[in-house]
Amino acid sequence: MNIDRKEVLRYLGYKNQSIDEVMEKLIDEAMIEIKEIMRRNYVYNIYDIENQSEKVILKNTNIIFQSKSLGEHLHNSDRCALMAATLGIEVDKRIQYYSRINLTKAIVMDACATAAIEALCDKVQEDMREMAQREGYNITSRYSPGYGDLSITNQKVIIEVLRAYTRIGLSVNNNYVMIPRKSVTALIGFQRGEENIVKCKCSRCEEKNCMYRKCGVANESEC
């Protein structure tokens, strides 16, 4: 799996400034180092769902997601996958280490790790698509706790039902902060109709002035 340099730069707030040799090298080294130390791990499970628009019920479980926006996202789906993915704790350790002795590198490493976890999720999503297609399904894009009105507390629900702590070392603290930091929980819908992939997930975010924003008013063309 490769880390996309363009993504790294985007997470660093890059807007076509000139980059000297030293910085180029730093970014290259950080990308290599993250690749060396990350222990990519993920778990998922697939459930039949009942979509009641105000809430999504996973059949044969006692899990209910109270969320209108999730209901909309899954409006064509009759099954969905819960997934949890992480780069592992060594990445946190290393970033912490650099933040005490080389803050610039810590920041670049952090951006590399963000790009890496997104890439891992893309890969999981790709696997999911293949699996879905074998059974005649298409998939939706990932939908994570914190999107729309899907409460961030659902991170805990997903982590517990997937037993993500014992299986991949992913935990969530009392404030619903995931540790290791570079981790994602998400839902992916399986649906019979056309694929429903939001090309750019920034498009549904309210934060119009975000420095990481890829699309929308500022520079639509990039999307």
């Binding site: 400034q17 980059i19 030293v22 946190d92 005490r100 610039t104």
Partner: protein, 794 residues
């Protein structure tokens, strides 16, 4: 009453509980512990099935019965555990019941939010309830984090008399999810006073086999293995395990033949697996294994074995005679100590000695803090160094790994206080060859004391391989005649006692010129006499060179690999002889040349006063960089690189000010306390703000991340800070921020609060009571200048 458990015989544990509960209709998302209260008959049926299959021990349904997992479930922890033990005891009849203690499901400090002390308290509750209800054994299982395992073991030992078994779970790469390898696990756990240790879950028996062999090689206590029924595979939406009971049993037999004493099953195993396993052991007697007895210290992820290649114990974290370290300790400046730790590691230290004894501070508190900080950043084993037993105990208790205690000696009183600590926490200990009569003159007398210490340690159950003898170095300037007695003593101790040795080498040269020359010569002599682990300054190139050369000459550094690595291109490398210091200090800062800047500032200090450099070069350069950043001409890492460059410049300037204390005007525009609030662990933004604020001359007290309100309020009061910076990244932790601001307004009404973080904006920040919203680190500097220069808040 609990019954005696015979660990000299094979013990067969039960198999999976979760797998069986699912087969009994438990839905995903249901809490299995709820069954203890609501459907105990289901649990009893499962226990019975395992008893009928031949299990000698059944495990209570309490894997997740801890305060963190039961939070918000409406279940009472005591009830859940008591009922679980009752149901198991009823099913077990004459068989044994093990109280199951699983991980708390939270990552521990410094990466997670759970402190060692909190973990201990959580486990203590479980242990008390389980022991009271009548469990026979405590099994602490499926641990990924050895620090958490240590907290659980201490809680079990200090709150019950039950035998303790501890298992950890490994990934296919041979490490736990937090990075512990099998040797490190054994080295730490077997010395913590438990009955058995081993491996469970995650892997099937086949994948576990090499790890099991590694554990058997070192474990002096019985070994337990509880594999899954193979690696979990997805079949549609079902998780399946592919190892049949027959295959499982065959692997079980192989493990037993290799020396495993206790066997059972984890995920995917059923009573059938256990029945076959039990049958497979018929006719087999417990196998005695050959164990390698080593002298080894561990961090959580790395084990350093003494003997063979010379191991360097870094001595620099010790305030004796170090003005800057003393000052850092007084100011609670952990960054300085961490840098010492990192520098020593980078220069080849294998183990770090930690001594924080200064009379002005509470040594125990500082020791605990220093250890937690160091082990969060550097993965080397530690040597806890203090003259106060209380400080030593506090230190080794929170140490994540197997530390060395520095030190014990031949005085009865000292042995009586130190050995119980060594034994309880399973440490190594440095034994100084002195006693009430002081340091004996001759090598023979020192040998005698070493013998006495080893014998006495044996009475406490401490084997001699856990003792590292220090024959004590005397200074050539004062006791020239005795210097070579130390060398003789090392040789004698090595020959007669066969133990590992250490020496504080650089004492030898005290009071003489060209100390390095004496140090390295003495070091070479001591190494050839049998010194295993010199305590020394790893940054001393002469001594480091001596160690490297010795490792070649004594055939430790095979094929001279490390030596060649270190020196092969030492000639080829042209020294940076074009020595023209770049005179443009501003440009150096703008370009972020953080190594070059120090030399340039030193040059500048010959011409200018320290504060002139700050006012005329550093600050203006920072302003330029800041403006460029705001205009989008540079991006974040470039800004930070410049900030780090200024930080390095300041270090040189501060050194200069310290030397010439005539400049009374230190650079401190005002005190600012900053923290990432309770519950939040994101601190990069806060760290960026810190460095920029420091660049502009503010004294920043950085309390770190996940900081409780009381601590922030306390610090603000203590340093009378007029300004506090708070950071939170998540909507959920903005609540903590609000609480912190409320407390600050109540207890420190004059203090101004600025708040920042991804989810905040102007309105939101105002809503939760912050005086200022800062959108980035640059903004925080502007607010600080405004607030501290007396401009009143809006």
């Amino acid at each position: 009453m609990s019954r005696n458990v015979d660990f000299n015989k094979f013990l067969v544990f039960d198999g999976a509980m979760g797998t069986m509960l699912q087969a009994c209709g438990m839905k995903a998302g249901e809490l299995s512990e709820r069954y203890n209260i609501e459907k105990p008959e289901v649990i009893e049926k499962i226990h019975r099935a395992y008893i009928d299959a031949g299990a000698d021990v059944i495990t209570t349904n309490t894997f997740g019965a801890n305060r963190y997992k039961l939070n918000d479930t409406g279940l009472n922890l005591n009830d859940v555990i008591t009922r679980a033990v009752e149901v198991a005891t009823k099913a077990a009849k004459d068989k044994l019941v093990a109280l199951d203690v699983g991980p708390l499901g939270q990552l521990m400090e410094p990466y997670g939010s759970l402190s060692f002390e909190e973990a201990y308290e959580a486990f203590k509750e479980q242990v008390l309830a389980g022991a009271l209800a009548g469990a026979d054994i405590i099994i602490i299982e499926t641990m990924s984090d050895i620090y958490e395992a240590k907290a659980a073991i201490l809680a079990a030992r200090e709150n019950s008399n039950l035998p303790i078994i501890c298992t950890m779970t490994f990934q296919e790469d041979g490490r736990t999810l937090t990075g512990t390898d099998p040797l490190t696990m054994v080295n730490i756990l077997q010395n913590l006073g438990i009955a058995a240790l081993g491996i469970n879950c995650s892997l099937g028996p086949k994948e576990m086999m090499p790890l099991v062999h590694e554990v058997l090689k070192y474990s002096r206590i019985p070994v337990i293995v509880q594999p899954n029924a193979g690696l979990p595979k997805m079949a549609g939406s079902e998780t399946i395990f592919e190892i049949t009971p027959e295959m499982f049993a065959a692997y079980g037999r192989q493990m037993a033949e290799a020396g495993v004493r206790i066997l059972g099953g984890c995920c995917g195993t059923t009573p059938e697996h256990i029945r076959e396993l039990k049958n497979a052991l018929i006719g087999l007697k417990p196998v005695k294994t050959h164990i390698e007895r080593i002298t080894a210290a561990s961090s959580s992820t790395c084990t350093v074995t003494l003997g063979g290649e010379v191991k360097i114990i870094g001595e620099r974290i010790n305030p004796t005679g170090k003005k800057k370290l003393k000052e850092a300790l007084m100011k609670d400046d952990m960054d300085y100590i961490l840098r010492e730790a990192v520098d020593q590691k980078d220069n080849g230290a294998h183990i770090l000695d930690v001594n924080v004894g200064i009379p002005e501070m509470d040594e125990e508190t500082v020791m605990v803090r220093a250890i937690k900080e160091i082990q969060g950043i550097v993965n080397l084993p530690l040597q806890i160094d203090s003259v106060k037993p209380k400080v030593i105990e506090a230190g080794v208790r929170v140490c994540n790994g197997r530390p060395i205690i520095n030190s014990v000696n031949g005085e009865d009183k000292v042995m009586e206080t130190i050995f119980p600590i060594v034994k309880k926490y399973g440490c190594l200990v440095v034994a100084l060859t002195l006693d009430d009569g002081g340091i004996p003159k001759t090598a023979e007398e020192r040998l005698k004391i070493a013998e006495k210490i080893i014998k006495r340690a044996g009475e406490y159950g401490i084997p001699k391989e856990d003792i590292i003898v220090d024959c004590l170095v005397l200074t050539a300037s004062a006791q020239q005649k005795e210097v070579k007695e130390t060398i003789r003593a090392v040789r004698l101790v090595k020959e007669k006692l066969g133990v590992m040795t250490t020496l504080g080498v650089s004492n030898v040269s005290f009071g003489l010129p060209a100390r390095s020359l004496l140090n390295r010569t003495f070091l070479a002599a001591a190494l050839s006499a049998g010194l295993d682990a010199p305590i020394m300054n790893p940054m001393d190139a002469d001594m480091r060179d001596t160690v490297r050369a010795f490792n070649v000459l004594w055939n430790h550094d095979k094929d001279s690999k490390e030596y060649i690595n270190a020196y092969a291109d030492s000639k080829a490398k042209p020294e940076n002889n074009d020595n023209k210091t770049n005179k443009d200090l501003k440009k150096i800062i703008i370009d972020g040349l953080k190594e070059e800047v120090k030399e340039t500032v030193r040059e500048f200090l010959k011409e200018f006063k320290a504060l002139e450099i700050v006012d005329n070069y550093l600050i203006p350069a920072l302003d330029i960089v800041g403006e460029k950043y705001e205009k989008g001409e540079i991006f974040l890492p470039q800004l930070i690189l410049s900030a780090e460059t200024v930080k390095n410049a300041f270090e040189v300037i501060k050194e200069d000010i310290m030397k010439n204390s005539s400049h009374d005007r230190a650079i401190n525009k005002g005190n600012i306390v900053i923290a990432t609030v309770k519950g939040d662990i994101h601190d990069i933004g806060k760290n960026i703000a810190k460095i920029l604020l420091e660049n502009y001359g503010f004294q920043v007290y950085d309390l770190g991340k996940d900081v409780p309100t009381e601590k922030i309020v306390g610090k603000v009061k203590e340093v009378k800070a007029p300004l506090v910076g708070l950071s939170a990244l998540m909507t959920t932790t903005v609540q903590s921020m609000e609480e912190t601001i409320k407390a600050l307004k109540l207890h420190c009404p004059d203090c101004v609060v600025m708040a920042g973080g991804a989810v905040l904006n102007e309105n939101y920040a105002n809503m939760i009571g912050a005086d200022f919203y800062v959108k980035d680190a640059r903004d925080s500097v502007k607010v600080a200048e405004m607030v501290i220069n007396g401009v009143k808040k809006n």
